[in-house]
């Protein structure tokens, strides 16, 4: 059967019954000479014929009955073959590595087969890659041919490349996220100390607040005076200063060491004191 291994893949995959094909090639079943054939110009008539009625021929071939050959026939054929000559010719055959696309297609086909096998055989999954590799290796060993190992990269399918790229991307994104969270979470924090005079931290701004609240009490006693435009103007100013004072106090907080803000608050307090004196004068 070694001679059959030289058949091309397209020949092997043609849907012609093998026996019919064999008969056609080797003449066991004779058809009418030159019926439907025209010899090609300049070529041996037996080797190269131009088919004029391809469809008719295909139909006819498909209608030929199949008969299994007896073992004696095969034995006869084998005895007629000059195996030494064939082996000598085989050594002269050139070897070609298939392009990566072939391996990719093979992998895809195998994966499809594996899925169908898994589906049909209750979850049993064949390791098709290893199986086909084993088959190829065995055949090569049987033919005494050098085993050329395929590189890992060629064997990887497109899907696996895509999976690998996705995983790499995910790992990279995770790394970036972790780095960012570390940065924002305090990985680059710096620490130092600052000595502050307790006078700056002394929070005694509210000591005179009772005096300002007294204005409200006085207004209850001097209602008419508190309705005058001059009082209202002063009260408006005082309210504005009170609001500003609260804003600066909040900005200063409990541990402020910025004297500029404290000076601002001091100035506001001084202005408030002036206004308070004017208000008392009106009342």
């Amino acid at each position: 059967m070694n001679h059959l291994s030289s058949f091309s893949a397209s020949e092997a995959s043609a849907k012609v019954p093998f026996n019919a094909y064999f008969q056609f090639m080797y003449g066991f079943k004779k058809s009418k000479p030159n019926a439907g054939y025209k010899p090609a110009l300049g070529w041996n008539n037996n080797l190269k014929m131009e088919e004029l009625n391809k469809n008719t021929l295909k139909t006819a071939l498909s209608k030929l009955p199949d008969y299994p050959l007896s073992d004696s026939v095969w034995a006869g054929i084998e005895s007629q073959l000059n195996t030494d000559k064939i082996n000598a010719l085989k050594t002269q055959l050139k070897e070609y590595n298939p392009p990566p696309l072939i391996w990719d297609n093979l992998s895809l086909e195998l994966e499809k087969d594996a899925k169908s096998t898994q589906n049909t055989e209750g979850g049993y999954l064949l390791d098709n890659n290893s199986k086909i590799n084993e088959l190829i290796t065995n055949e090569l060993i049987a033919d005494n041919k050098p085993i050329k190992k395929q590189s890992v990269f060629r064997r990887l399918s497109l899907q696996r490349w895509a999976m690998a790229a996705t995983m790499t991307g995910l790992i990279f994104a995770l790394f970036i996220l972790l780095k960012r969270s570390n940065t924002e979470g305090g990985a680059n924090l710096k620490f130092s100390t600052e000595i502050v005079d307790n006078q700056l931290l002394k929070n005694d701004w509210d000591d005179a607040e009772l005096d300002y609240k007294m204005v409200e009490t006085l207004c209850q006693q001097h209602i008419a005076a508190c309705e005058t435009p001059s009082f209202k103007t002063l009260k408006h100013e005082l309210d504005e200063l009170n609001q500003a004072r609260e804003s600066v106090k909040n900005a200063i907080g409990a541990f402020n060491s910025d004297t500029d803000l404290m000076m601002q608050l001091k100035n506001i307090e001084q202005e408030r004191a002036v206004i308070l004196k004017q208000i008392i004068g009106v009342l």
């Binding site: 680059n188 100390t193 600052e194 000595i195 804003s247 907080g253 541990f255 202005e271």
Partner: protein, 297 residues
């Protein structure tokens, strides 16, 4: 016995020294640095919105906006300082044609306001003619050598401006403003702020309420208009530049040097008006106040 007296004397000295020495507190300072650079194209604007920030703006010959930020948190307790620093956020991003730069304090629901003293030190390099809008409160602003238009809104801030060639508009409340070398139109609206300006080459308009306005007028001055409500205005003229003055006050006072020969058009108790006119080409200074004094030196 002698030793006992010596020791007692030394102890007294130490105690006495202690009385004069002020007590001090050590604050733990935690800081974080952030650097960011954004591309800038002509026609875009920069908006800066800060709080408790010491802002410095510089210009550079680049089509990029470069930002260097240091976020600071101070507290006697290190852990509290660290936690509070996490609440201090800084953002610099481009949305449409505007670059936004801002900081804020983010308090999670149910958590207390940070007790630490939080502060931001930020330096921004802008393309030299980029228009910039700035808001800052409880901090400092420092802008020098800049050609672009500036809109500054400042509350409780100290502001220093120098060598500005673009139009400048300032709104300041409860803050001090110092500036010199304004080479373009300058508009200031101030409330309870002290404003001190020198070398005004462009038309200048100041609307002030409360506070004190001090202008150093020299030959570079072109046109100055000051409207002051309950604010005092001092015009210093050290180099005796030729300036036409138009002064008026309601319920206030006007003080002018005798050597200048001001013409008092009105000098009643409630209203005073005084002019001094040299030539039509001289600089014009117009000042009007209510409940405030005008001083020309």
């Amino acid at each position: 016995m002698r030793n006992l007296i010596k020791k007692s004397f030394l102890l007294l000295l130490i105690l006495r020294g202690g009385i004069f020495l002020n007590a001090q507190t050590t604050l733990q300072v935690v800081s974080k640095n952030i650097d960011k650079t954004l591309d800038f194209k002509a026609g875009k604007a920069v908006e800066i919105n800060l709080e408790k920030a010491n802002l410095t703006i510089k210009s550079w010959a680049s089509a990029q906006v470069k930002i260097q930020v240091e976020l600071l948190s101070k507290n006697p307790q290190l852990e509290a300082a660290k936690q509070d620093l996490m609440a201090l956020k800084f953002v610099a991003e481009r949305v449409g044609k505007t670059i936004y730069i801002r900081n804020y304090v983010a308090i999670d629901k149910g958590k207390e306001k940070p007790s630490s003293d939080l502060r931001v030190l930020i330096t921004i390099w802008l393309p030299t003619d980029a228009p910039v809008s700035i808001k800052n409160s409880f901090g400092k602003n420092n802008i020098q050598q800049f050609n672009g238009r500036i809109d500054l809104t400042s509350e409780f801030c100290k502001t220093k401006l120098s060598q500005l060639n673009g139009e400048v508009s300032i709104n300041t409340r409860f803050g001090d403003l110092e500036g010199d070398n304004f080479n373009n139109k300058l508009t200031i609206s101030s409330n309870r702020s002290n404003v001190t300006l020198r070398i005004l080459r462009g038309a200048t308009l100041i609307n002030a309420t409360y506070g004190k306005i001090i202008i150093e007028a020299d030959r570079t001055l072109t046109t100055l208009n000051v409207n002051a409500d309950k604010a005092d205005v001092d015009i210093l003229n050290p180099k005796n530049a030729l300036i036409n003055y138009f002064l008026s006050t309601d319920f206030g006072t006007i003080s002018t040097p005798k050597r200048r020969n001001f013409n008092y058009l009105e000098n009643s108790k409630n209203r005073k008006r005084a002019n001094l006119q040299h030539t039509a080409t001289a600089s014009n200074v117009t000042v009007s106040t209510s409940l405030g004094h005008i001083l020309i030196e």
